[in-house]
Subunit: 499 residues, 2 copies
């Protein structure tokens, strides 16, 4: 039996390496590749997908898993090898449902779609992207057909990002949030925009100060990079090789690269904190998208938009942008980067309106995937709902339904995990403060190490050992619960109003 286990680990190591090679090629595609590389890159990624899928769904892996069933049953739930076998078996069972040809085609089409999306977004040209979305939708529906039907047609998509969660669970949480978010948004909809919001904030200064905050949060130069990308993201090629990306808008404080950097640092610290012994196994990544987003949103918002944080960091921010911020008092700045201000762009949204951007996407995705909404009608549906939920008029699709990268890679099911992450982030934060003590005082002197260490020990190091549900219970002490998050938003709203 130990022989079968080490053979399996060796095979999984190879598969993990191939998957990582693909991640490197995808990172390169989004950060470094000249446009001429696109067609060949689709071939490279497709081949990597084919070989990874063939290796993982091979009879050899299946036979090893069969042979190791008695070992798995004999091991305690917490045993790392037991976790490895459990998670590998689940992944294997999902992967073997999907024919290699289909997996390959999805990779090929979505890779080709990336530059199409980039230029459609730049040109605010929905019709340039629409045929690609149609093709991707068709492929993803064929993908869904590979699995036994769930309670809801959306379940299969959600499961790829939030294993084990049901659409009905998400809907229950969002139904609780939506009216409260709409109320809070409308109550704040008349706040005037601040003059200094328009910058200019030169890219070089944004980059330098983004590196500052990245380091302060605990991202070491030996293991992290920060590069520009059209759509900010984080990826990792080992626990000590983490790639963050951000972007630079020079005329909008709420789109300052600092915020997307803090967001991606949260993802990066999670990957960086995974127990190194889990590397090159299926356990060596973050547990789920919602747990990942709980960390990006915790560092970006719960910490990075707090008053204690800005008490510490604001002098540096002023020094980075002396003409624009030199004479702006801290309190006014803090109010500006927290104020509820309905806007067009999800990733630049304040914490309250953010959820409405997600709910909009969650609804549209379900309608698209069940055929109730045709790709041609997405702009109209998008714009109508932006008006309804946020009171915002969308001037063009570039800042409307083309703003996000996700549909171009077929990532249906991802969006809701952002808002679940917001909800979980506050649950985790409440628990953290019980153990760590006066976090305001720590943050105010820029000492993030105790916070980082608690998160590493309680969450990051676990990787994918447990299911998302188990992991949330471990780190937050209970199941997903929207109440702490709503309380957090209301408290913030009240304190801003009082300030």
């Amino acid at each position: 039996v130990p022989d079968a286990l080490s053979t399996l680990k060796e095979r999984l190591g190879r598969i993990a390496d191939l998957s990582t090679a693909r991640l490197v090629l995808e990172w390169d595609l989004q950060t470094m590749m000249p446009p001429g590389g696109a067609a060949a890159r689709a071939e490279h990624l497709t081949t990597l997908e084919i070989l990874t899928h063939e290796l993982f769904t091979s009879d050899e892996v299946g036979n090893l898993l069969d042979e190791l069933r008695p070992l798995e049953a004999s091991l305690p739930h917490d045993d790392v090898d037991g976790c490895l076998l459990r998670v590998t078996r689940r992944d294997y069972e999902k992967a073997t449902c999907v024919p290699t040809e289909l997996a390959a085609e999805i990779t090929h089409v979505t890779t080709e779609a990336h530059p199409v999306w980039v230029s459609a977004r730049a040109g605010a040209d929905w019709n340039a992207f629409r045929p690609w979305l149609e093709r991707i939708l068709e492929l993803k529906l064929r993908y869904a057909d590979c699995f036994p039907p769930g309670d809801d047609p959306y379940d299969v998509f959600l499961d790829d990002f939030e294993p084990g969660m049901r659409t009905a669970d998400v809907r229950a949480i969002f139904d609780r949030l939506k009216p409260e978010l709409v109320d809070l948004t409308l109550a704040n909809s008349e706040a005037p925009a601040e003059r200094f919001v328009g910058g200019p904030f030169p890219s070089e200064a944004q980059h330098a100060i983004s590196l500052d905050v990245m380091r302060a949060f605990g991202a070491d130069d030996g293991s992290f990079r920060l590069d520009p990308a059209v759509h900010p993201f984080c990826t990792s090629f080992s626990v000590s090789d983490v790639r963050l990306t951000t972007r630079y808008a020079e005329h909008d404080l709420t789109a300052h690269s600092l915020f997307s950097t803090m967001h991606e640092v949260g993802h990066g610290l999670y990957e960086r904190g995974i127990d190194p012994s889990l590397e090159r196994t299926p356990l060596g990544h973050g547990c789920s998208s919602a747990l990942h987003e709980s960390q990006s949103r915790l560092w970006e918002n719960v910490i990075g938009r707090s008053l204690p944080f800005w008490r510490w960091f604001y002098p540096r921010m002023q020094a980075a942008h002396p003409e624009v911020l030199g004479s702006v008092p801290l309190e006014r700045f803090h109010r500006t980067v927290n104020g509820v201000r309905p806007g067009l762009i999800r990733v630049d949204a304040d914490e309250t309106t953010y959820g409405l951007h997600i709910i909009l996407r969650f609804e549209l995705e379900q309608e698209l995937l069940t055929g109730r909404l045709a790709p041609a009608d997405v702009p109209a549906a998008w714009n109508a709902r932006m008006a309804d939920y946020l009171g915002v008029v969308v001037p063009d699709d570039g800042v409307g339904c083309l703003q996000d990268v996700h549909w171009s890679f077929g990532g249906f099911g991802y969006f809701p995990t952002y808002q679940l992450g917001n909800v979980i982030s506050v649950q985790i934060w409440d628990r953290l403060r019980e153990d760590v003590g006066d976090t305001d005082e720590l943050i105010e002197r820029g000492d993030f190490a105790p916070i980082h260490e608690w998160l590493r020990e309680s969450l990051y190091r676990l990787g994918r050992m447990y299911t998302p549900e188990e992991t949330i219970r471990r780190v937050a002490g209970g199941p997903i619960d929207p109440e702490p998050y709503l309380r957090y938003l209301r408290d913030k709203d009240a304190s801003l109003a009082a300030a």
Copy 2:
């Protein structure tokens, strides 16, 4: 038979994609990767090597090649499919000699050796690198033992970079060159160094003007990038995704990034010019290292150090470095970047002394590989020969025997191809001028298109269709011949003396 051919092409396409993934990971390793990524990267590259080697040396490929033998015999020598089968068969026969485990171990050890070399070089610490060289030597000798013995123990190493060439052929050429190079060097050894050689040349200005010359030579932004690296190199991931690297020394004109950029542009234009139909096949790269170097040295030296080039480009160079070069006349600048000046660093050497740097390495490699020289004795042997051939005292190993990356990746057999490239570059240039006409006039007005086009049509597009020997005959009209090169060096020397 057509079915077997298309199956083979499909397999070779996958193998080419895997090889390209490896190139992307290697490029990333040398340009982007944070140091923390090194250990995992060795695993990734080793896995890619294992899978590539397994796929290529599989019985399936062997059986397809057997099945296609009659087709290959029936096709004319110039038929692309015929070329593909011929080259694939040769590659296959070589690859099947080497066990996958050994190929994997070489990849693993040489990848781990890269950061060791970088830091040993920075610290001028031969002893830090020596055990790695010993290990790499041992592996490469085991590698050599996989093949039937050649006329010379070095033949097997040379063949990896210059297929079909023998050590005896190289030695004959170098024996012809060496006394002439030594004479030319000694005759010039008393030229005083120019004051402005020391700069400063700020990195940003070097980068900007390196991009200028890259574009002027025909490297389009849609297909090229230029990044810094410890040791400049060029790699390509498709004919329209070419990555150049350079480095920035701020206090040495002869180490200005412009020269290494022009060198790498030469490599890049070659890869860029390969017929796109050869992509994802074994024919889709440059023909041999010497032919590749003929292009880097042609663009860097034959064009890039010529007086017509500087008549055109010098005003831009002065504008990039106004304090240092503003009042330096063209002729004096041109003399400085061409003057024979024995120095420590190969890649910064003038055209005359360059060959002596190569001959030194060619000799030491043969002695190392036959056990006549122990790794521990390399510094002493290196320094003694630098004194003999170049009259140069080596102050430390960082600028001595640790300066080049090649041994760290086991690239024994590569160095001689640089000097062969110099020799071939002049043969090609003579031929090009017969067809293109007054190249001086073209260069002087910055019109490189007719030169680029001739090279593309005569050489680049062919990829690996023909053997290096055949290809040299096609493009240069005859076999390798050192006489035109010696004439070129003597003419240059005379014209500089007269100026």
